[in-house]
Amino acid sequence: MLINQFLLLGALLFCMGVYGVLTRKNAVMVLLSIELILNSVNINLLAFDAMNGGSDGNVFALYIIAVAAAEVGVGLAMVLLIYRNRKSISLDDLSEMKG
């Protein structure tokens, strides 16, 4: 198997995730797309591991999974908070940063 199979798959998923993050309005959907990005990174790490015959990438893939879990927890808590305050989780309504 070529390593590029896996790397290209990862790159494609990454770009899909980016597209999703940019086009989605619903905050939960944005978080879903971010998961897509994180997964693509994991595929890369493990592919490099398999190429080099090490196990370090495995360790970091595990760390990424843990970080992702934390991120989803906090992210969804924030979404809930926003929902409670505004009765909407549309990111377009959050434009306090308007300059």
Partner: protein, 749 residues
Amino acid sequence: MFAEEAAGEAAHAAAGWFLEHAWLIPVIPAVAFFLIIFFGKKMPKGGSEIGILSMVASLVIAAGTAYQWIDWSHHSEEPIIKSITWWQSGGLKFGIGQHIDGLAVMALLLVSFISTLVQIYSTEYVRGDRRYTHFFASLTLFSAGMLSMVLAPNMVQFILGWEIMGLCSFMLIGHWWEEEANSKAALKAFFTVRTGDMGLLVGTAMLLAIFGTLDIGGEGGINSLVANGEFDSKNMLMWAAIALFIACIGKSGQFPLHTWLPDAMAGPTPVSSLLHSSTMVVAGVFLVARLYPVFHTGLDINIAGQHFNFVAVIGGITILIAAALAFVQNDIKKVLAYSTVSQLGYMMMGLGVGAWMPAVFHIFTHAFFKCCLFLCAGSIAHTGSHHSFDMKTDMGGLRKKMPITFWTWIVSTLALCGVPFFSGFFSKDEIIDSAKHNHYTVFGIIGLIGAFMTAAYMTRATYLTFFGKARGGAAHFVDGHEDHSHDAAADEVHHDIDGLDTHLHPVHAAHDDHGHGDIQHGKPLPFAPSDSPWQITVPLIILGVLAIFSGYLNAAPFKWHYFEHWLESSMGLPFGEEPGMIPEPPTFSWVAAAPSIILVALGITLSWLISKKVFGEEKNGLQGLTQRNALLGAGHKFLVNKYYLDALYEGVIVKAIAHPIANAAYWVNQHVLDGIVNAVGIGGRRTGEWVYRNVDQRVVDGAVNGSGATARGAGGVLQPVQSGKVSMYGALLFGAAAVGALVLVLVNS
């Protein structure tokens, strides 16, 4: 000896087709689930036909398996184990397959049979529901989960089936999630059971650590290792058994995790029936029966020279507590729910006191009559009481109009109470008898008291439902005229009924909106002239017949022990008097059975008389007693509030654990972090002021003034970019990164 073994070998080679292919039983509904999900909506009957067909197919195979097992059990005690490895990691193999023995065959037959009937029943009960297809998909997957659990050859597959059931029960209990109470009940069931499920994972991991295998039965399986005493530390085994038992407590609704079961009544009635008779709640009992050596040896507690089993303690407590709660319920389904909890207590107690066979037999008989009772309750609500389950406001006097429902209810109630010659008698009495025989005298007495209470609360429920004066919804149904005590919607209902005599349904569209406690959405209100349609009554009749006759498979009074013979190889422990063995079962005598029969008779009579006084028509001193007498009132309140366990879980535990953490975090946030932020802020302001005075004012100003005009122009161009929209900023970020990377690539190549 050798000849016998050789015969066994030969027989093994010739195990019938059904025994070899029993793994198909859960596979068929699992496949059907996907078919329903993907194609169900396009089918003429919304996918229900696939569900029913798959359950019938499973039932046929299960019946074939049972038939061949009966044959098999005459000459062999070996289970038929087949397994393929689907995963291995670090020398550990995970298999999936089948482990067919008497216990598994019994459960397979039971589950596929009850599931088939419940699905047929559901075609009428949830007709026209907005999530009809999803309902059948979940039901089918639920059965698949239970079926794959009961024939699990190892703990991993067991957990798989167990968790599938947990998920499906969440979906089914919350089927009508538009109402907040229902979705709350679903969440409560899910979380309570999950609390216990942690125990299953921990316990399984500990079993793996102790025995180095996850296989349940067969040579070198967990059961035989425990039975032969091949483990290092009894303490470890005890902790593993405790962890597993916590899972059983959660799943089977034993004290103190029983609080989710009555709330689970929020689901459609067929779901309650399936959950409470043969599947979900039985799973915990099944686990104890399946890994019986582990529990029997591991939870054997020795205090002051007195051996007793912890399983029996929990079972005994549950019997009494749940039976007491059943007295104060007004919702007919909740009475049945607490009754289930109490009957599960009997099973647990039976397993605890060493009466494996009667306990498993009680699973078998209980499934039929409890399923029948729930379906009766559904039939009443569907046809007789205006979709309400409240016995006090919407039922009464229904026996004439709904004869089939009435008679099947009566038969099942008698079976549940343990009246002689109905099925419940043969199993329940055997449990009580064994408890006494095995020196668990206290538990024998608890069993007797439980039998008395069961008889009493079921009589109360029967009286409220079928006798006396028709009230509320039932009054419309029975008399066809308006009831005076009814709610504001009564007038509208009245009009509808006037319309009904000439023509049926269309006027009922507005009906579902007005408020009865448990009104169920999405269904037309039939107002059938008499009993429910055939899809409902046929399952009732079948179950009613079985509620009488299923007990005769193991009728001790007549020395009929077929059931025992088919199942005894699953027990995993030999008979004997030594520790770690099961005491021989007692021989039946009418003298020993007499106390329980007398108590049941007494319970029925007393409860009948009191019910007539309290709920009957003529006024008397017993009515409203709980309001007048402080002590009784307090007891009543204590029971109505379910011993305040929910308050304990939600108020005390959540407050004591979750809130201090949150408060501490808040405090840190307010004091520490704010302090740092403030300090940084003050420092920053000082720096800023200095920079402002010395750099900005004197040096930069001049330069800026010159470029001001330019900046204003650029700002005007860039202002749309500062839209405040996060996604826009993100697009710019990623775009810039891509362009930057492109530049780097181009420069470097």
